[in-house]
């Protein structure tokens, strides 16, 4: 139409006006390190597989998950989930039940028989892994994925190391363990059980391995000398648990005292209950708070009728009873004897004072340095002997690139994974990639208003009566809907999950939506730099940066 001059204008003609020039700060999309990922010793990309699970893509989620950890059904049960301790959602309502979801995905995989991806072309390299515990299995798996030929040698009759011989079945059913190990081995790994390695140096020389990863763990119960009568019955937790696993449980009697405050002590006590002990008492020198055992373990033990004897040391053991000395904690938190004594009826004393490694196979290998009962390795987990790597419980925890870790299966899995990569680097003569650490997505980065309120869902637990009599699994799994719900409780801290907020809240339509999975782009021609997108981003994935003026 013949429009009147100036009074009537064409639609959208203002796009000629590039308001981006007003800007003094510009919004920029970032990816921050989610606290869960940050806390995971196994280096799982937890947020990533949670994201896949949010829309019910469980297999995709599982495939993402096993990129970091080949044993989700196992670890979902036994990991003490530092990820959840770090989870930002805890500050909102309750932490996201990551372990439950990990277990759910692991169990789904077993149920549906999902297979691990076939390895790529053969690298022609031969790698020997000594020990089939979590570290060994993890290393073997990742090495195999890299295309190397892997052989695992295990002294025991069955693979799994401490997973099998250290963790009772009521926490980790063996069919689950077997299923995941079988699936892992099925990727083309040679597993030689009942094949102890006595002379590693010799084998390396004679068999021509390109590299070796040793992860024999720490199976020997650490013993101490306690004054005891001849007929006193004393045994260590490791052999107790091992015996149970071999269907040869030792006789314990009705009253069992367990000496120690770690997870193994509690496992021993709870196992004793299941073996028929009417009275299982954990004797510990310090207070409950100082126990190294995990709170959840203590809770479970108490629920199952295990008694606790804090601030006590065993002064003397006799048949049918033992003498405890009361302790007090001094100003520095150290227990000090009081000279007060009491008697405790006990048919058996189980020592759970920590474990140590049998390093005989590696002693004497030129260049390998051993100190304080552990092997010295570098950040790349290589010993002084080129091509010989070690990890898991048998190495110095400070080998980790973070403050001293506790010794857990999860840490071992992480070691295996890292060893696989550093071994790969060493084999190819590659320089290790520098570690890129993103800024951690702490709670204050989030705009939690946008998240629906939703407390965590509980996993079902076995009733106490059965827990005291059988080795049935205590903690049940999440059903599918709970799993979905739990996955959706993830806040996606620090990483865009395409909620469209930035796209919607921009007063200048300066955010371009690139399509599902492709996130967004800022149109700096029109962005005035108001920062609403940053303020309203739920997960803190946008920052303002000053413009160069």
């Amino acid at each position: 139409m013949e429009e009147p001059f100036a009074i009537t204008l064409d639609p959208g003609s203002s796009r000629a006006n590039r308001t981006g020039s007003w800007r003094v700060e510009r919004p920029v999309y970032v990816d921050r390190l989610p606290p869960c990922n940050d806390a995971c010793p196994a280096g799982e990309n937890i947020q990533r597989w949670l994201y896949a699970a949010e829309d019910g893509s469980y297999e995709a989620a599982w495939r993402s998950l096993v990129e970091g950890n080949p044993l989700p059904a196992v670890m979902g049960r036994i990991c003490y989930h530092p990820c959840e301790t770090a989870c930002n959602r805890a500050q909102l309502d309750e932490t996201v039940g990551i372990h439950g979801l990990e277990r759910f995905l692991g169990d789904q995989a077993i149920e549906h028989g999902w297979e691990l991806a076939a390895p790529p072309a053969d690298s022609g390299r031969q790698v020997l892994v000594v020990g089939s515990g979590p570290a060994g299995l993890s290393a073997a798996y990742h090495l195999r994925r890299a295309g190397h030929q892997v052989t695992i040698r295990e002294s025991a009759e069955k693979p799994g190391g401490m997973l099998r011989y250290g963790i009772p079945a009521y926490r980790l059913p063996r069919h689950v363990l077997d299923a995941e190990i079988d699936r892992l081995v099925a990727t083309g790994i040679t597993l030689e059980c009942g094949h102890p390695v006595a002379d590693l140096a010799g084998d390396m020389a004679s068999e021509g391995w390109d590299a070796v990863f040793v992860a024999v763990g720490a199976q020997r119960g650490r013993g101490i000398t306690i004054p005891a009568g001849d007929s006193a019955r004393i045994l260590d937790a490791v052999s107790l648990l091992h015996g149970v696993e071999d269907q040869e449980p030792p006789l314990l009697g009705r009253r069992v005292a367990v000496y120690g405050g770690g997870n193994t002590a509690l496992d021993a006590a709870r196992t004793a209950r299941r073996l028929g002990a009417t009275d299982a008492v954990v004797v510990y020198r310090r207070t409950r708070d100082q126990m190294p055992a995990h709170e959840s373990e203590v809770e479970d033990a108490l629920t199952e009728g295990v008694r606790m004897q804090w601030l006590s040391t065993i002064a003397h053991v006799d048949q049918g009873s033992l003498l405890l000395e009361r302790m007090v904690v001094d100003g520095d938190g150290f227990p000090q004897p009081t000279g007060e004594f009491e008697e405790l009826g006990a048919d058996t004393v189980v020592l759970a004072l920590g474990q140590e490694s049998d390093l005989s196979l590696i002693e004497g290998v030129p260049g390998v340095e051993i100190a304080d009962g552990v092997v010295r390795v570098g950040a790349d987990l290589m010993t002084g002997r080129p091509g010989l790597f070690a990890g898991g419980d048998m190495v110095d925890p400070s080998a980790a690139d973070r403050p001293a870790e506790e010794r857990t299966a999860t840490v071992a899995i992480g070691h295996g994974k890292r060893a696989a990569r550093t071994i790969g680097d060493w084999l190819e003569g590659r320089r290790p990639e520098p570690v890129r650490r993103h800024e951690i997505a702490t709670f204050d980065h989030l705009n939690t208003w946008y998240y629906s309120d939703a407390p965590a869902t509980m996993q079902p637990t076995l009733d106490v009566a059965r827990r005291q009599s059988t080795f049935d699994e205590v903690v049940g799994g999440l059903d599918e809907s709970s799993a979905l719900f739990e996955a959706r409780r993830c806040l996606s801290c620090g990483n865009c999950f395409e909620c469209d907020n930035c796209f919607g809240v921009c007063p200048d339509n300066a955010v371009v939506k690139l399509g599902e999975g492709l996130r967004y782009r800022f149109d700096y021609d029109y962005c005035k730099g108001c920062g609403i997108c940053v303020e309203e981003c739920p997960c803190g994935a946008i920052v303002m940066e000053p413009e160069e003026i």
Partner: protein, 421 residues
């Protein structure tokens, strides 16, 4: 960050691994989500947002609080989350950084465009929106748009509607829009006439509580104690006096028109549902939309939506719907906050706090108490917190899970009837 796909966080212990993962996320199987919407166990596990106990609760991570949500069926997502939305108010407009009115206008008009299948005409009063959107030679409007005067917008809209009726084009709908000055003050005569005749117009008031275009002067929508250029923060009772002001939503309801609603730019789903509702009705409809003004309020541009959220969560701005003069639905407060949290970030209330220690204890606690009273009265009178308000049936648009707008009676507003003598 190019290369990193959605939902992939960087990993930690294995820090050298690339953060996130590179393949596209979410197989798009949102259908799977729908498979199991019910919570295990009782429905009330979803907390405050859940529907009354016993009902199944849908849970979608950010539910319907965020603009979009890949987990929702596209039909349940907002108009604003649609890459093909109209952008009725296009880029290049000259609104200030973080302008709430620009945002509100696009929110409302895009929703109206969807509701009318793009068959819509807008009439605009003089004011910021008009000035920043159509300075010769550029217009930011993608829809047929007419600006006449400051005070006559409702009447002009009436004329457009009459013309469309007589021309036999009932499918073309009319929206009139103005700021609070053009609505509650100079435009009120015409607005009342439009209401009284029940003319087929949706009138939207973008309320930023003062005359911003002319330099932040007081309007009948300016709340008590607020500083404006004509209610300076000096004297015994600094800022706008208590006990004054006009409560437009209630006045609109007094005309018994088919539909009256209030909304803020902080709850997009609620706003869009109301616009859609309004466009489904014939006759005079009124939408009072709360749009913070960074410039006029002395607030940070990035706080625009946050302030709107706080206005509702304090109870100072009740969000509700009314039909034929009767309140039918109210949006309850989700996480109640004291008014001080809303006042403190705003320069127009600076005199209530200690300039030497702006984060310290208030300089005028008595004034803040009076404002809190207004919020409390709204909360009590309209059941903004907890049960007691007429529940709102979950509209087809948007998921049921987060409480939609609940129902309260007309607002006291900070300056409304409540304080009036």
């Amino acid at each position: 960050m190019p290369g990193f796909a959605t939902g992939g966080g960087p990993t930690a212990a294995e820090g050298s691994e690339s953060p996130g993962s590179v393949e596209p996320p979410g197989s798009g199987r949102t259908g799977a989500a729908v498979r199991s919407e019910d919570l295990p166990g009782s429905g009330d596990t979803a907390g405050p947002e859940s529907l009354p106990t016993g009902q199944p609760v849908k849970f979608y991570q950010v539910g319907s609080f965020a603009v979009g949500n890949r987990l929702l069926d596209p039909s349940q997502r907002t108009v604003q989350s649609d890459a093909l939305r109209t952008n009725a108010l296009d880029s290049g407009h000259r609104a200030c950084q973080g302008c709430g009115e620009a945002l509100g206008a696009r929110y409302a008009l895009d929703a109206a465009m969807r509701a009318t299948g793009g068959s819509m005409v807008a009439v605009n009063a003089t004011g910021c929106l008009e000035v920043f959107s159509t300075p010769y030679p550029e217009s930011s409007w993608q829809i047929p748009w007419l600006h006449s005067l400051f005070g006559n917008t409702p009447a002009v809209a009436t004329g457009v509607a009459a013309a469309l009726r007589v021309k036999g084009r009932p499918e073309v709908r009319v929206v009139g829009q103005a700021g609070d000055g053009g609505t509650v003050d100079i435009g009120f005569g015409c607005l009342s006439g439009m209401f009284e005749r029940n003319d087929d117009v949706l009138f939207i008031c973008y309320d930023n509580e003062a005359y911003m275009n002319t330099g932040v002067q007081r309007s009948a929508a300016t709340p008590p104690a607020a500083r404006t250029a004509t209610t300076e923060a000096v004297g015994d009772e600094p800022g706008n006096p208590f006990g004054q002001g006009k409560n437009l939503p209630v006045l609109a309801m007094a005309h018994d028109i088919p539909y009256v609603a209030t909304a803020t730019v902080a709850d997009l789903h609620d706003l869009e549902q109301k616009v859609e509702r309004a466009m489904a009705i014939r006759g005079a409809r009124y939408l009072h939309l709360f749009v913070p003004c960074p410039l006029g309020w002395g607030a940070a541009p990035h706080d625009t939506i946050r302030l709107a959220r706080l206005a509702k969560e304090t109870g100072l701005f009740p969000v509700f719907e009314a039909e034929h003069g009767v309140v039918t639905a109210v949006s309850q407060i989700r996480h109640q906050v004291p008014v001080e949290e809303y006042l403190r970030p705003q320069g127009r209330y600076r005199h209530l706090f200690d300039p030497a220690d702006p984060d310290g204890p208030p300089a005028r606690p008595e004034t803040i108490r009076r404002i809190q009273e207004i919020a409390d009265r709204n909360i009590a009178r309209y059941g903004l917190v907890g049960p007691g308000a007429p529940g709102r049936p979950a509209g087809p648009a948007g998921p049921a899970e987060p409480a939609g707008p609940g129902a309260v009676g007309p607002s006291d507003r900070s300056h409304g009837a409540g304080e009036a003598r």
